[in-house]
């Protein structure tokens, strides 16, 4: 087709490129496509803008008139009136400033505030090998922020300079370890449960140490009996620690206390409150409920009729009743079910109930993950000659748990939100227990919105970051390329 037209109406030269029409570029195109693409969309945009405008008009002045320094609600109102004129309303954030410690620590002794703070900071360090093993940059950013937070917070909590230097040195050492090896802090993960319990409740160091040593004993028993077969060694690894906790610890504890006494001030459970309480219950529940939930899910899919029936009965019972009624069981009925004279800690009782509650939900989520796994995976594991536990550990669970991550994390989020319900068994949760007792004081009577908004924001931050983390985890564990 190399023929050239000579007709007058046929162009011989290319037209220069023209700019696209105004309606097809930039902001206007974006507006047309995203906000005004049709009558319905235009209507929605207008309605949405109206709602937004209404919200801003109603609440922005209230936020703009915020008062940060005041001694009481009345003083706040006076300041707002003096600054913004008669009839103006304003948020009184001074209540949060004034009662910050109350919201964070409840009635925890003031001189020991550093203990829960350090426990929270170390939690992130202890979790790092598990949560952020794969990406050094994320690990270092998170741990760096935590370390900086601890170093900034500690002088404010009345910790001496020497102790601060020691903390800084320890944090620096741990940061170096975390930087050089992803699993370098695994020892901290191992001792953290005992460490956290000791730091939160205080008392003799030997209680937590001896309790944790049960795990070492179990491991030793497993090593010693391994050559007699799996069942015997697993049985020994379970029975030895249980016997140790039930009978051994109380015999040995006085001995250790007498020979090597070392203790810090004990803090009773009634003193716990605010976010220290919510995080204690929430973290303990999260850590304990996952293994129990996985075992329950496996039991529910077991071939053994009896095991399956027990698992189904337990899961359906727990899922069928409200958490509040289980908390009532913890506070009212456990005294009936346990031997006369037993009276153990209310926080521990609540943690047990919350854990069982979350475990039943996690069991259902994991069961969904197991059901979603193609049958071929189970059959492949069988054909490789793996026994039941090896097949579960190496083939089935890694895949099933990966599928269940979103469900598991939303169960955790639900459980963390549910920690607020402990107020109904007399504990001081941050949402109702603390705000009620703050409002009960003369100065802050009638301050409704600010405490609720503050507590709500903190819960939002925790839960939103958990859900974002689960998305990150899903991406990280994705093995198929679609």
């Amino acid at each position: 087709m190399s023929e050239h037209h000579s007709a007058a109406y046929v162009r011989s030269a290319m037209l220069p490129e023209q700019a696209p029409p105004v309606s097809e570029i930039g902001v206007i195109r974006w507006l047309r496509e995203n906000l005004f693409s049709g009558p319905l969309n235009t209507f929605l945009t207008l309605a949405g803008s109206f709602i937004l405008y209404f919200l801003v008009k109603e609440y922005y002045p209230w936020l703009r008139h915020s008062v940060w320094h005041a001694g009481s609600v009345g003083e706040c109102r006076d300041i707002v009136t003096a600054t913004w004129g008669e009839g103006a309303t304003g948020a009184c954030w001074a209540i949060i400033r004034d009662r910050w410690n109350m919201f964070m620590f409840g009635f925890y002794p003031r001189e020991h505030y550093w203990r829960p703070t350090l426990a929270l900071g170390l939690l992130i360090f202890a979790a790092a090998p598990v949560l952020f093993a794969e990406s050094r940059s994320i690990r270092m950013v998170v741990l760096g922020i935590v370390a900086a937070f601890l170093l900034v917070a500690f002088p404010g909590l009345g910790v001496g300079a020497a102790a601060n230097l020691m903390l800084a040195a320890a944090l620096a050492a741990m940061l170096v370890v975390a930087w050089s090896r992803p699993w370098g802090l695994l020892w901290l993960t191992g001792i953290y449960p005992g460490l956290a319990v000791w730091m939160l409740w205080g008392g003799s160091v030997w209680g937590p140490v001896l309790a944790m040593s049960g795990f070492v004993l179990g491991w030793a028993a497993w090593l010693a009996t391994r050559r007699f077969g799996t069942i015997l060694s697993v049985g020994a690894a379970v029975l030895v620690p249980v016997a140790w906790w039930l009978f051994g610890v109380e015999q040995v504890l006085p001995l250790f206390d007498a020979v090597l006494p070392y203790s810090i001030d004990a803090v009773r459970s009634e003193k716990f409150g605010g976010f220290v309480l919510a995080l204690t219950i929430g973290v303990a529940g999260i850590v304990l409920s996952l293994p129990i939930g996985v075992v329950l899910a496996l039991a529910r899919r077991s071939d053994m009729l009896l095991v399956k029936a027990l698992a189904v009965g337990f899961i359906e019972f727990i899922r069928g009743v409200p958490l509040i009624s289980l908390l009532f069981v913890a506070s009212l009925l456990l005294n009936y079910f346990l031997p006369p004279g037993t009276n153990f800690d209310i926080i521990l009782r609540v943690i047990i109930m919350v854990t069982l509650f979350a475990a039943a939900y996690i069991a259902e989520v994991v069961r969904g993950g197991l059901a979603a796994l193609p049958r071929g995976q189970f059959e492949a594991a069988d054909s490789l000659g793996l026994d039941y536990w090896k097949a579960q550990r190496l083939i089935v669970l890694p895949q099933a748990l990966k599928i269940s991550i979103p469900g598991i994390v939303s169960t955790f989020i639900g459980m963390f939100k549910d920690t607020t319900l402990v107020v109904f068994v007399g504990l001081l949760d941050p949402l109702k227990g603390i705000t009620d007792s703050v409002r009960a004081s003369f100065e802050w009577k009638g301050a409704y919105w600010e405490p609720y908004i503050f507590v709500g924001c903190i819960f939002f931050i925790f839960n939103f970051s958990m859900s974002r983390y689960s998305m990150y985890l899903e991406r990280r564990l994705k093995r198929d390329h679609r």
């Binding site: 496509e33 995203n34 906000l35 693409s37 969309n41 929605l44 945009t45 309605a47 949405g48 803008s49 709602i51 937004l52 077969g229 069942i231 015997l232 071939d303 053994m304 009729l305 009896l306 095991v307 027990l310 359906e316 019972f317 899922r319 069928g320 009743v321 409200p322 958490l323 509040i324 009624s325 009532f328 069981v329 009212l332 009925l333 005294n335 009936y336 079910f337 346990l338 031997p339 006369p340 989020i413 939100k417 549910d418 607020t420 319900l421 107020v423 109904f424 949402l431 109702k432 409704y448 919105w449 609720y452 507590v455 709500g456 819960f459 939002f460 839960n463 939103f464 859900s467």
Partner: protein, 416 residues
């Protein structure tokens, strides 16, 4: 080369119980059973000892005793001379009431928000995302408390509705939100059929008549549609039925209402309070609103996931078959999306019902408030009341999940 190894014939050895897979599961089950029975026996034994120590017994006769407390919000006749059992029934009905109302509004909110979140409109989808994230990540208890505080702290006194009092009624002068209750119109029937006494409580015969009329209309409509399908199968032409369907859906109810002389009793201010309508306590209103908004956010996500789960190829296939968009939605997309949506939706209903026990925060007397609250405190029978309460919640939950299983079985994909 058929070579079958004979099983060794050396009799049964004790070690086979542990190492032979044929017997091992039996061994494990027997051990589990023994452990379970030991724990159960231990718990029961402890309970018996503890009860004996405190000089208590385990019996439910307190249910027949005069309760001695009043319940403001009730669906059936009740006063302080009634028994604890009746108080429990009132509480149960209150639980069911707020759960039922909550499920309806939560579903409406959830479908609305879920669909709008999928909208291509940038602003609206962002707004809806904001709503979902805020409500999902903040404890329900906070929403209940904050909405209850809004009712009690911001809403005006009933007094303020007087001339020049500064407050005005909403929705054509029919609803008044005060700081103690919300006055709403009362449905009245001038030619009422009266009530039917079924032994425990009264049921409005008017309500039954309306329900029966609507159900009859629905049934006849089904017959009409079925006949239309038969005609279509025989002749290839589907008779026009939309006006029959419309009439059968609306007319029976409207005609029955008219026959019964339905009218609304509007709330009016007499002295210090509203009369003539129904005064719904704000504890119920706040609980209802909070439960609906909170569960609505979860349902929105379920609806969104359900619609997104239907692959785009299904829509294209339907268009290729020549189906119009409306029929594509009703015949192709919705049935598949509903299969994904309904099971988690029902489990949200279940959660809402259980969460209604947070009525404790507003003082609404539901099952927890009556049986597990005042009755427990007055009789001091923690064991019986809490166990009974858990049993009732359990039965409710099992009934709802039983319904879900029936539905699931009916829509399950028929696989090989």
């Amino acid at each position: 080369m058929a070579f079958v190894s004979e099983p060794p014939r050396q009799g049964f050895r004790l070690s086979q119980l542990l190492y032979d897979t044929r017997y091992r599961s039996m061994t494990i089950q027997v051990v589990v059973l023994m452990m379970f029975m030991a724990v159960a026996a231990w718990l029961v034994d402890n309970t018996i000892n503890n009860l004996a120590d405190r000089g208590k017994d385990f019996n439910f006769s307190f249910l027949g005793v005069r309760s001695g407390y009043d319940i403001g919000q009730r669906l059936i006749a009740y006063d302080s001379d009634s028994t604890h059992a009746r108080a429990m029934l009132v509480g149960l009905l209150n639980t069911l009431l707020v759960s039922f109302l909550g499920c309806i509004v939560a579903t409406l909110i959830g479908v609305f928000v879920g669909v709008l979140r999928l909208s291509k409109n940038w602003l609206v989808s962002r707004l809806m995302t904001l709503y979902v994230e805020i409500f999902r990540n903040i404890p329900l208890l906070l929403w209940i408390l904050i909405i209850f505080a809004a009712f009690t702290e911001i809403a005006p006194l009933p007094n303020a509705f007087k001339e020049g009092g500064g407050a005005s009624l909403l929705l054509f002068d029919s609803v008044a939100i005060t700081n103690r209750y919300t006055a709403v119109p009362d449905p009245l029937f001038s030619r009422s059929l009266g009530n039917i006494d079924i032994g425990i409580f009264l049921i409005s015969a008017d309500l039954l008549a309306i329900v029966a009329a609507v159900a009859a209309g629905w049934y006849v409509n089904r017959l009409v549609l079925r006949r239309a399908t038969v005609v279509q199968n025989a002749t290839g032409v589907r008779p026009v039925t939309w006006w029959k369907t419309l009439a059968l859906w609306t007319l029976p109810g409207i005609l029955t209402l008219a026959a019964l002389g339905f009218h609304l009793g509007l709330p009016t201010l007499k002295g210090f309070n509203f009369t003539g309508g129904i005064n719904v306590t704000n504890s119920l209103m706040a609980l209802w609103l909070a439960l609906s908004l909170y569960t609505g956010a979860f349902i929105a996500e379920i609806v969104r996931a359900g619609v997104m789960a239907v692959s785009h190829g299904q829509t294209e296939a339907a268009y290729a078959l020549g189906l119009r968009p409306g029929r594509t939605m009703s015949l192709v997309i919705l049935p598949q999306a509903l299969r994904v949506i309904i099971p988690p939706l029902i489990s949200q209903f279940l959660n809402l019902t259980k969460n209604s026990s947070l009525a404790i925060a507003t003082g609404y007397l539901d099952l927890r408030g009556t049986l597990g609250g005042i009755t427990l405190n007055q009789t001091g029978r923690e064991l019986e009341t809490v166990l009974l309460m858990m049993l009732i919640y359990l039965v409710l939950s099992l009934m709802i999940s039983g319904a879900m299983n029936v539905y699931n079985a009916s829509v399950k994909l028929k696989e090989r």
